[in-house]
Symmetry: C2
């Protein structure tokens, strides 16, 4: 570190220095800190809501659109949700110190592969202040230092939430650098350059925002790009299952990344499926864009273009295509999809297995809604996010995504020369 | 893909298309392909050695340095080693299709987290032709397509090895794109730009080479930067263990990334350890660079500078520093080290645990040589490399480093709406 280093670079370096000590803290201390966070949030309840009202008033005065003002709101109910989430987090098993493998290499030489925190995680999120509390507590549970950058619209709420959580942690023995808040856009740019101190960046926000981060940092990024999800209705589909699955996958929350964007229909069932599907979607105000073969069966549908296959609508629109077999559906999904979540509706085991083996997506489903792709619904407890990358963590990411591992080797004076020269040899044995 | 795309971009896209089919191939087919590779290598034995002699002759004619000519050599013995390695690989458990978790989410809704290949791996390596055969067979075992770029000095050997292995794979049903060889420098630059088709780049070569790759590609890179490893001799050390551990960590193979570069000695044992250590290292022609406190005890030692603490000598040089306690040693290692492999020599359990918890390295050792940091010695079987990154894979990386996972969810028509509106609820239950 240099004396001319920026404030952010210094803060990130301080977080790095403190990360080693934080990583070594006991589960009891980490859970105790979370319990203390709950208590201090309760004490600061009124003050937090007051600060949030300042942000809301400023947002209204600045003419921010209603959906943003809504996301900004942090009232008593939101605080209750945050506190309930922290209670759940305390109850989750410790993600740190899990023995992934234990192996005797030779008499008296024992190798352990044990999970440990990643170190320093940079998290950049847009308007919602509950994200700050959620991410801070996930990092506390997993022993990671966090450098947080929230949206400037939420600055009053974020600052008080930060101060409250920071005070709670340090009171129970967390090092001061366990949590850092940065506030300006310029500081975000500096954060992206701190590859010596920051081990992982987690961006939470729009696709454009995630892409910007990925393109502007050498630090590994865990985030998700598009969610172009598919439902393929096979010739052996049960139509009574297919229609509700497609409806749910689209309308249960159309703006979610795991909502379906394209429905592929086997030619043999197109005439049976499409008319009831169209009725169901029309009732739910979903617009269909179809290929010519689709429009031959259900007239009055908009024409789909090549662009539709790559588009994440995040809206009440679905594109529909008739395919001649499961292979064509699989090829379409692998070519145009975003490898997020894709479903086959079929009663045929062999076709289902082919689909699930050949589709290269984080989540592959048989006969259920794509909307199940979510950390809570997967039973992971708290969710860090959904990763569309293939390395480190894929799909819905729980606390495990905030861990790495280290190898610990315990010996009694062993040297490699003895093995290289044949005086000793390895005797591998797994230890339960 | 565009008609104006380069040859490399087209080849990478073809590999991507074939990767889905390769990923779905059965273990028997993959092991059968490896058995076929052994058979075809045997048939081509004389031809491969002849091609290698052309490369060696060209290298000599071009005045390449002896160590490079030596690494280039691929004779009968090297071929035997490669074949023995493939036999071992066949015997290893299948890394693909391992169930990492199986969980009932609700009645009739079962989630599986299963390992699968990453997809397309780009491997760029310097002169040694055995690396081509080794990497190709690791990718075949793990169901990954590979795009290989070898050193131009080995082009004749590489080309025949590639043709032999490619023929063996396609004969048993691997898709043609499972293995691609690229040969020129310009093609390497193009490969680094293929982030739509290549999922992972593995560079094998010098640090400068690995850094160049990391700085010039948006594709995730699994490689290792420096190996600045330490041995810390604690005040509670058994000196009779410390001296051989340090000697072995340095001289057993001084050019290895897991060789020790800096020895830290607790002040209380400096006078006991340093004189016999100096004698032992002198016998082995190792030069010591020490701080003033070291030079006060063993005279005639070179002075160490700040730069020494960050230097990977890869040579018969070791820097030595006296520290006042274990904390100072830990701080030094976390500050100057490369988080590769670091060892404490001590008989004190508490200090050992503190060291192993607080040192932020992929491998942390007690009382054994740093040279044990190696995939084979860890019992991982074949080694992909050693990663100094913290995400995805850390430390010595076996076949598991060439896998990711996908979630497979099996339902019977379940939709999220039922859970969101309270008509159904999740009943998580782990399935053994």
């Amino acid at each position: 570190m240099n004396t001319t280093d920026s404030k952010v670079k210094k803060a990130a370096a301080a977080a790095k220095r403190d990360s080693f000590r934080l990583a070594a803290l006991d589960e009891r201390v980490r859970n105790g800190a979370l319990a203390r966070v709950i208590a201090t949030l309760e004490v600061s309840r009124d003050a937090i809501i007051e600060e949030n009202e300042k942000d809301i008033a400023a947002a209204r005065a600045n003419g921010l659109p209603d959906p943003i003002v809504k996301r900004l709101k942090f009232d008593g109910g939101k605080l209750d949700d945050v506190i309930a989430g922290i209670h759940d987090l305390i109850a989750l098993p410790d993600p740190i110190g899990k023995i992934l493998a234990k192996r005797q290499l030779d008499e008296g030489l024992v190798l352990e592969q044990a999970t440990c925190p990643i170190g320093v995680v940079g998290v950049i999120f847009e308007s919602r202040p509950d994200a700050l509390a959620q991410i801070a507590s996930l990092c506390m549970k997993s022993g990671n230092c966090a450098v947080l950058k929230g949206g400037s619209e939420a600055k009053h709420t974020n600052r008080l939430l930060y101060e409250t959580i920071h005070a709670a942690g340090t009171e129970v023995g967390f090092p001061a650098g366990f949590l850092t808040l940065i506030e300006s856009r310029e500081e975000t740019a500096e954060l992206l350059g701190c590859h010596e101190s920051i081990d992982l960046i987690i961006p939470r926000g729009s696709n454009a925002f995630v892409r910007y981060i990925m393109e502007n940092s050498e630090i590994p990024v865990m985030g998700h790009a598009d969610g172009v999800c598919h439902v393929y209705v096979d010739k052996a589909a049960d139509i009574a299952k297919a229609v509700p699955i497609i409806r749910d996958s689209k309308v249960q929350y159309a703006a979610a990344c795991n909502a379906v964007e394209t429905v592929l229909v086997h030619a043999d069932v197109a005439e049976t499926l499409l008319p009831p599907l169209e009725r169901e979607l029309r009732v739910n105000e979903v617009v269909i864009r179809g290929t010519q073969r689709v429009r031959d069966i259900i007239a009055g549908v908009e024409a789909a273009s090549e662009d539709d296959w790559r588009t994440e609508y995040l809206d009440f629109i679905v594109s529909v295509k008739v395919v001649d077999d499961a292979e064509e559906a699989i090829d379409h999904i692998n070519r145009y999809g975003s490898h997020h979540t894709d479903c086959i509706v079929t009663e045929d085991d062999e076709t289902a297995e082919k689909f699930m083996n050949l589709v290269d997506s984080a989540s592959v489903y048989r006969n259920c809604s794509t909307r199940f792709a979510d950390g809570f619904r997967y039973g992971l407890g708290a969710e860090v996010g959904i990763s569309t990358g293939k390395l480190h963590a894929r799909g819905p990411v729980g606390l495990d995504g905030l861990t790495t591992y280290k190898y610990r080797l315990y010996g009694d004076g062993q040297i490699v020369e003895d093995y290289a020269e044949g005086r000793r040899s390895f005797h591998f044995r797994e230890i339960e």
